[in-house]
């Protein structure tokens, strides 16, 4: 029984991974790609690891749970660092973007 539930959770996780990677290919600029990919792949991988916990339990399950918590904490931090690095290295937003308060404030700081 628990094996079936585990496999269902893993299947949902893989589906989210796939959505995230389609987003990585389809979306127009790096910030949007980071958005889609980070959200979907983080939840997808966490669901796969939780699925392992439900499926197997024991030592493997505990390690999977620790790994899931770690991915949940580290992945948004990595995305945050990447977005900041990309913006500071001068990557422009997509042409359809509405506003960019960050660039305005950075320019103001450079002028002083």
């Amino acid at each position: 029984m628990s094996e079936t539930i585990g496999m269902v959770i893993i299947s949902i996780g893989v589906a989210f991974d796939l959505f995230g990677c389609i987003g990585l290919v389809r979306l127009p600029d790096i910030y949007n790609r980071l958005q889609g990919a980070t959200k979907c792949v983080t939840l997808g991988t966490c669901l796969i690891l939780v699925g392992v916990l439900v499926h197997s339990g024991g030592a493997m399950g505990i390690k999977a749970l620790l790994c899931a918590i770690f991915v949940l904490l580290s992945s948004p931090t990595g995305a945050h660092a990447l977005a900041r690095g990309a913006h500071r290295s001068g990557v422009k937003l997509w042409k359809g973007s509405v506003m960019d308060k960050y660039a305005e404030d950075q320019e103001g700081k450079l002028d002083q």
Binding site: T42, K63, H80, S97, Y102, D105
Partner: protein, 162 residues
């Protein structure tokens, strides 16, 4: 002193969970490593550890988890909708919001929560201001943006970490 004991216990429990055995050699190495690390990393982690023994914070943390997971699942369905839609209905931009949280820990968790929730990605934190990339801007009024993005987590995080 209490800080060191907490740190030692956290590292030791993490070690036990990772090895998942109570064989004597594992426990001895674990105790030695946890002692060494808690002495070396005293200045780095867990400033203000008296917060660890206040049960109300754990209660609010348990309340925060379901809210967080609800928004994470909604964010993923939102991304899936935008990605699979043939025309990709996005209207991105970077907005600036203000937070009233003060401690570093609370700000870190706020930034991570914002990154994992619908349509938002933290780009930078400068002082009290967060710069947030929003995939579908619905309003251009800073007050309303703060209301939509930050308020739903601030209520919980203030009670957990401040």
């Amino acid at each position: 002193m209490a800080t060191r004991i907490f740190q030692f216990l956290i590292i030791f429990i993490l070690w036990l969970l990772l090895t998942w055995s109570l064989a004597p050699q594992e426990v001895i190495v674990g105790v030695a490593l946890a002692l060494l690390l808690s002495i070396m990393l005293y200045d780095v982690f867990l400033q203000g550890s008296e917060k660890l023994v206040q049960p109300a914070r754990y209660f609010w943390f348990l309340l925060y988890l379901p809210v967080f997971f609800y928004y994470v699942v909604r964010a993923n369905l939102d991304v899936a909708y935008r990605v699979l839609h043939p025309e990709m209905p996005i209207r991105p931009g970077i907005v600036k919001v203000r937070t009233s949280l003060k401690s570093d820990m609370a700000k870190t968790f706020l930034a991570n929560s914002i990154t994992l929730t619908p349509g938002t990605l933290t780009v930078d934190i400068i002082g009290d201001h967060l710069y947030i990339h929003w995939i579908n801007i619905v309003t251009e009024d800073p007050q309303e943006e703060t209301e939509v993005i930050v308020k739903r987590f601030e209520v919980f995080l203030r009670r957990i970490f401040e």
